[in-house]
């Protein structure tokens, strides 16, 4: 097979793959440290205290979407981030892969649904929804009694996670993206 045919079959360029790998490595290392903060956070802020920092997990996915700007970038980055978290001793164990994968899929879905626009609102919404999905995995992982109180509680947790995602994921992510682009670190690729 000729080199030209191989080049057309590439899904991501090597540069994009390495950007995704670096973001996943950073996010995974950061995420497993962040998960270990769960105990002190729950002690000070009550049950669900971790949700206040849930958005920090999504920041890396927002950066992956903004820097790579290709379909599936956030999902792949987040799955790798989950694997790094699993291997670096996250207290969530195998569930970390599920938490991360679902968040990445949500970020990708929002970005695609909003027409891949390079607008702060896209990143803010993607960050919020990506962050809120962790409540779904939480509900799957623990057997909550079915009832109104449990549903309201989960809704509240999802709300806190959404807000955290908009701030720590979307707003912070957008600011970082703008700074990286202005500094020329993110390359000169034009927004799609």
């Amino acid at each position: 097979m000729s080199e030209r045919v191989l080049a057309t079959r590439r899904i991501y360029s090597l540069h994009e793959l390495l950007v995704m790998a670096a973001l996943a490595a950073l996010g995974g290392g950061f995420g497993s440290v962040l998960s270990r903060l769960g105990e002190p956070l729950r002690a000070t802020l009550g049950p669900g205290g971790m949700q206040f920092l849930a958005g920090a997990h999504v920041l890396w996915l927002i950066l992956a979407v903004g820097l790579v700007r290709r379909r599936g970038a956030a999902t792949l980055t987040s799955l790798l981030k989950g694997a790094v978290e699993l291997f670096s001793g996250s207290p969530h164990g195998l569930l970390a892969v599920l938490y991360c994968g679902l968040a990445g899929a949500a970020v990708d879905a929002v970005w695609l649904l909003l027409g891949r626009r390079d607008h702060p609102l896209t990143y803010v919404l993607a960050g919020g929804l990506g962050s809120a999905t962790n409540v779904l995995v939480f509900k799957l992982a623990i057997s909550l009694p079915a009832g109104r109180a449990a549903t309201v509680g989960l809704g509240l947790l999802a709300g806190v996670a959404f807000l955290s995602g908009t701030l720590l994921g979307g707003c912070l992510g957008w600011t970082l993206l703008r700074t990286l682009r202005r500094a020329g670190v993110a390359g000169t690729q034009a927004p799609a």
Binding site: R9, R10, I11, Y12, L14, L17, L18, M20, A21, A22, A24, A25, L26, G28, G29, L76, L80, A83, V84, F87, S88
Partner: protein
């Protein structure tokens, strides 16, 4: 090597190497004492 294998392989090796190296350089010296 097809495109999917290449993508997954590059991502896994680069990501895990970066994560492992980063942990060894940044976390271990801090945790050592």
């Amino acid at each position: 090597m097809n495109a999917v294998t290449r993508t997954v392989w590059t991502l896994l090796t680069a990501g895990l190497l970066l994560a492992g190296g980063g942990q060894r350089i940044v976390v271990e010296p801090v945790a050592a004492p």
